[in-house]
Amino acid sequence: AQSVTQPDIHITVSEGASLELRCNYSYGATPYLFWYVQSPGQGLQLLLKYFSGDTLVQGIKGFEAEFKRSQSSFNLRKPSVHWSDAAEYFCAVVGGNTDKLIFGTGTRLQVFP
């Protein structure tokens, strides 16, 4: 069965620093991959998605993610973090014999001024 692992439960960065959130998936073929963000008190918002083609994907709010088949990873990056980026981030995958989203357990990002 497909699965998603986000190894970092909680990450703290200073405002202006770069950010990388890790996501590893388990699936034999190329999956469909997503990153969602959940700001405090709000629902989830789609940041970016990968279906095929260019392995570097640009999203909203200045985020990007890179699909690396050899590492089964889809890490989320941002060159300079803003205080408003403090939120919980979820990686998700669709693949195989299911058309449902499977979410990772999330990474909570804290940003210090």
Partner: protein
């Protein structure tokens, strides 16, 4: 602007009560979903629906049922609420078809406490 609304942001119910959580979307989406979100567990799919009157079980349907009488409305029902159903409940919707079936739009969530 795309919008998914949920009837309550916060709800407190007693054990054994019947609980209704309502979700409405204004995007004419065919697909609707109910998840629960718990710390350390991420989002888990309870039920989903690809059409009016249609419903399918997700990964954790036990203790829940759903109703979809109209395209825009998807209700989650806790027949007899229990304390282990205390959680954040998120509703989502999406278009069908390649790609669209996976790009889901979420409501703000309902935090349910069962005492």
């Amino acid at each position: 602007d795309v919008k998914v609304t949920q009837s309550s942001r916060y709800l407190v119910k007693r054990t054994g009560e019947k609980v209704f959580l309502e979700c409405v979307q204004d995007m004419d989406h065919e697909n609707m979903f109910w998840y629960r979100q718990d710390p350390g567990l991420g989002l888990r799919l309870i039920y989903f629906s690809y059409d009016v009157k249609m419903k399918e079980k997700g990964d954790i349907p036990e203790g829940y049922s759903v109703s979809r009488e109209k395209k825009e409305r998807f209700s989650l029902i806790l027949e007899s609420a229990s304390t282990n159903q205390t959680s954040m409940y998120l509703c989502a919707s999406s278009h069908p078809g390649f790609g669209g079936n996976y790009e889901q739009y979420f409501g703000p969530g309902t935090r349910l406490t069962v005492t």
